[in-house]
């Protein structure tokens, strides 16, 4: 929840930026027994946000699969455990990147979101400036 709030504040700092924020909610904690309540969904209220509910954590599994095919490409020294769950994580992608098969290499990735928000801000700014 703190990550969602931090992300919303970050988006609001650049109301005119050509930015798209894809938020995938997934069950991780024991209390995650249902899709996000309206209150959670409302934390991210910017129009540039698209929200997803992923009860089977298929996105996390796909990201682990992708990283493990070539960990070095994504900045990892080793493969991730097969049961690793990607969550409370954020990644920034440059304009022009397309997701065909494997996820493109992000300009930045990190987490927990609330702790990584300054780095995420810098990555967004840097990616916006890139030609």
């Amino acid at each position: 929840m703190r990550g969602a709030s931090a992300l919303e504040r970050l988006i609001e700092e650049s109301p005119d930026a050509r930015l798209r924020v894809l938020v995938v909610w997934e069950p991780v904690l024991a209390s995650d027994v249902a899709p996000p309540l309206n209150g959670a969904l409302a934390l991210l209220h910017d129009r540039r946000v698209v929200q997803f509910w992923d009860p089977g954590r298929v996105v996390s599994a796909d990201l682990v699969r992708t990283v493990n095919e070539d960990p070095g490409r994504y900045g990892f020294d080793d493969a991730l455990p097969e049961d690793f769950i990607v969550w409370d994580a954020v990644a920034v992608f440059a304009a022009g990147d397309r997701w065909e098969g494997d996820l493109p290499v992000p300009a930045h990735h990190g987490g927990p979101v609330v702790d990584d928000i300054d780095e995420t801000r810098k990555a967004i700014a840097g990616t916006m400036r890139a030609p």
Binding site: R18, V24, L41, P55, V59, A94
Partner: protein, 73 residues
């Protein structure tokens, strides 16, 4: 062996408590979800619809994209 009947009030209180828990859980699980105004509806993802996320990612390929994975609680 002898059993002593529970006080009727206690039985009703237990039943009422159970009903409240069931209704609350059902509400939590099935109550309609609404994203803020102006956003696309909440998209349910599964093995067969992961492409929806890729499509959303690629639909705005001309923009910087941020992907975040979060827990709802």
């Amino acid at each position: 062996m002898r059993f002593r009947a529970l006080p009727r009030g206690l039985v009703w209180a237990a039943v009422a408590g159970l009903v409240i828990v069931v209704v609350a859980f059902a509400w939590l699980k099935f109550a309609p979800r609404h994203v803020p105004e102006g956003q696309r509806r909440l998209v349910l993802l599964d093995e067969g619809s992961l492409q929806d996320l890729r499509d959303a990612f690629n639909a705005t390929a001309g923009e910087v994209r941020v992907l975040a994975l979060l827990s709802p609680t």
